[in-house]
């Protein structure tokens, strides 16, 4: 018993000696160049330009962490990997992709197709599946965007991450992570969406780029992006509507916030007949006439107005997608998964989507007329 234990320790000891110096993966944090953001674009000469955004690590004085300064490094190469390896020559330490937060892709490259980029990102295991993707509008160069210093957060890559992580209550854009984009473009529709970003003075993230078969084909701007999101996720919170409405002869401005869900059904006809049943819960956040009586009748009117607005918005975005003949909302996939034989008859890619007959119904109910005050109470007497 005791002898056996001794043998164990001897073997263990030998092995440890043996292993010393073999730890090739041991690289201290300060020996890695931590990449937080990566920008990829392509030149007219078909050369890839890769911009990496790395934080400058300065020693912290007495505990206070100094502001995150950063540096961008740009490299070029005939292939993406070449461009990245060229950058390695400019940095003192090894490039480390483990903390990559966001990959922004230039407009030009996006129009040419993202396959190359996605394949590289997919194959690198240290890179998380959860990096955010964004497309840079053509008004900015990619490196220019990555160099932009926001007055709010200095690292743009972290800006993107925080922006999306915070789940901002805006319905103009939606985060898309690497695996989500991969998944969506792999579905029957072969279509996906990515957010647009650009910088003028600040970093702006709004609108969605529409991809078909990996190529940028169009975009949803403003409220279209929100409606697109609604159709895709079948659910959208916090759409803002400000409406002018005439109630009892008075022009009233109403601002409301609507949370909606959508139910998509299809009938097996050819071309397919789709019904989009949108139902929503609204909340009034602003009413231009303070003492206005929000009676049920008035509310009904406001509801109708909102319903009309949503309906036209949805029809607008559907029309846009139909014009492009791209269907990024997994409607085709839904049909495909429920009834494959029927789906085959539709010729979805070519004509099935384009010719589909879509009816939209909207129903909105106002649940709250103000969260804190009951502003419409009537005064009696003096």
């Amino acid at each position: 018993m005791m002898q056996k234990r001794n043998v164990q320790f001897i073997i263990l000891g030998f092995f440890v000696l043996f292993l010393t110096g073999c730890a090739t993966d041991a690289r201290e944090i300060d020996q890695r160049t931590m990449i937080l953001g990566m920008g990829i674009d392509i030149t007219e000469e078909e050369e890839f330009i890769v911009t990496l955004q790395v934080p400058v690590i300065t020693p912290s004085d007495g505990g206070a962490i100094s502001a995150n300064e950063f540096e961008t490094i740009t490299g070029k190469g005939p292939s993406l990997w070449d461009a990245i390896s060229n950058i390695e020559a400019y940095t003192p330490t090894v490039l480390f992709f483990g903390h990559l937060k966001a990959v922004v892709i230039g407009d030009t490259l996006a129009r040419q197709g993202l396959e190359d980029v996605l394949d590289l990102l997919d194959r690198r295991a240290p890179l998380a599946n959860q990096v955010y993707l964004a497309i840079i509008r053509s008004q900015n160069e990619v490196d220019e965007f990555l160099n932009q210093e926001s007055r709010l957060i200095s690292l743009p890559a972290l800006y993107l991450e925080r922006f999306f992580n915070a789940d901002q209550k805006l319905s103009r854009s939606k985060e898309v992570r690497l695996f989500e984009f991969r998944r969506d473009t792999n579905m029957v529709g072969n279509a996906g969406t990515l957010p647009f970003a650009y910088s003028d003075v600040n970093i702006v993230i709004e609108d969605m780029a529409l991809f078909h078969k990996g190529k940028l084909v169009g975009e949803f701007t403003g409220s279209q992006a929100g409606k697109s999101e609604l159709l895709k996720e079948r659910k959208l919170d916090n759409m803002n509507y400000t409406l002018e409405i005439e109630l009892e002869g008075v022009e009233v401005t109403v601002s409301s916030r609507v949370g909606t869900t959508v139910d998509i059904d299809f009938e097996k006809t050819n071309p397919v007949k789709l019904t989009l049943d949108v139902s929503g819960k609204a909340e009034i956040v602003y009413l231009s006439e303070h003492d206005f009586q929000t009676s049920n009748e008035h509310l009904r009117k406001i509801e109708e107005k909102i319903e009309g607005k949503i309906k036209s918005d949805v029809e607008d975005v559907v029309k846009k997608a139909k014009d492009l003949n791209v269907e990024p909302w997994l409607i085709g996939h839904h049909i495909w998964a429920t009834d494959y034989d029927y789906f085959k008859t539709l010729n979805w890619d070519e004509t099935g989507w384009k010719e589909s007959d879509i009816t939209t119904t909207v129903e909105v109910e106002i649940e709250q007329t103000g969260q804190r005050g009951v502003l419409e109470k009537k005064k009696l007497g003096r």
Binding site: T24, D25, G98, D122, A125, F179, R183, N186, M187, L330
Partner: protein, 367 residues
């Protein structure tokens, strides 16, 4: 002399965890879509694939009821010609070496892909086997206890998987059963899933150690069903999050799945690496079980006294180590041969023997 023999017993909890851990690891790591040709609704296959094993357990129960003996190998030895016994045991021995080799290789691939890109394969493999060897020397009681102690790992994983069903990324639309193929293709591709439960063959050696007053087959069946539930959860969760086309291309769908989640606590940035440690432990457990089982089979061929069991463990480990070092690394898995062999070794052979034992007894009574 043993004091307090009540602590030496192996109870139903030990049996349950042992069964669970002896099979679940590889499935955990690589399900769904292990073989190269796959149909969409892999989770259906997993459910179908459990049936043969339930039959196996049922047959075993029948055999035990008839012969009043839980020692499968002992019965087999008693009731069959020597050359059959030895050749079968030898085959089982070779196969379990093969599956150990395969497990080690998979561990190497996983570790190299996700944790240590630049470290050489032999370092990963030999350090794993060394630790396995040292731990296996402690014997089956320590192993079975250790499995119980870190069983919370598996519970953690299952909870994580369930939580994925409620995450934003999960879409039920990807999941519904879908038969794009005829029944024969379906059954054929289910065969590869059958091997996912193959690890429970180690039970044949483990059950005789269980005290006689402990009910054996209830925890085993329950455990096999839990494995099935776990597998279904894995398949459904990966399929729901990634969809068929992407899940098909992933080396380890569950790891990719964990990557998609951000840690709610902010303690670890990337949950997938945290879960990788869980998988390493999982490999460690199944490795221990099979080193022990293989050494057990070797002992059936060359009996030794209990004190000298260390030699057998050393032999087994060094064979696996040598094979690991000498065979080329598998970058692209070809699971076909492994699956075929596993099918024969873990299901067909035990079933045949059990059937033989069932018949044999009747003949004995007839005479």
């Amino acid at each position: 002399m043993e004091i307090q023999s009540k602590y030496k017993r192996i109870g139903s909890v030990e049996l349950f965890t042992f069964t669970y851990c002896s099979a679940v690891t590889l499935g955990f790591m690589f399900l769904p879509y292990i073989s190269s040709e796959e149909i969409r609704s892999a989770w259906l296959k997993v459910i179908v694939a459990v049936l043969p094993y339930l039959l196996l357990i049922f047959m075993w129960k029948k055999v035990v009821d008839k012969h009043q003996n839980r020692d499968f190998f002992h019965l087999f030895k008693e009731m069959s010609p020597k050359w059959i016994f030895y050749s079968v045991i030898f085959y089982l021995f070779a196969s379990s070496i093969y599956s150990l080799l395969f497990g080690t290789k998979s561990l190497i691939i996983i570790v190299q892909t996700y944790l240590m890109q630049d470290t050489e394969q032999w370092i990963i493999g030999s350090s794993f086997l060394l630790v396995l060897f040292l731990s296996a020397l402690y014997g089956i009681h320590a192993i079975s206890r250790m499995i119980v102690v870190i069983f919370f790992h598996e519970i953690l994983l299952v909870i994580a998987l369930i939580s994925f069903l409620f995450s934003d990324e999960f879409r039920w639309i990807n999941v519904p059963p879908y038969f794009g193929v005829d029944a024969i293709t379906f059954l054929k591709s289910s065969l590869s899933e059958v091997t996912r439960y193959g690890g429970i063959i180690a039970l044949f050696a483990f059950v005789p150690l269980v005290k006689n007053d402990v009910k054996v087959f209830k925890p085993i069946t329950f455990s096999i069903l839990s494995i099935m539930v776990t597998y279904v959860l894995i398949c459904v969760a990966t399929l729901g999050v990634f969809g068929y086309d992407q899940a098909l291309t992933l080396l380890s769908p569950v790891t990719a799945l964990m990557q998609t989640s951000t840690s709610p606590t902010g303690l670890f940035e990337r949950l997938d690496l945290f879960f990788l440690t869980v998988w390493i432990i999982s490999f460690f457990k199944i490795g221990l079980i099979f080193i022990w089982f293989t050494a057990f089979l070797l002992r059936l061929i060359f009996p030794v006294t209990p004190e000298k069991q260390g030699f057998h463990i050393a032999i087994v480990t060094s064979i696996v180590l040598l094979l690991t070092l000498l065979t080329p690394s598998i970058t692209n898995f070809d699971w076909r041969y492994y699956n075929m062999n596993m099918l024969v070794y873990a299901l067909l052979i035990p079933m045949t023997i059990l059937a033989y034992l069932l018949i044999r007894k009747k003949q004995g009574v007839g005479k």
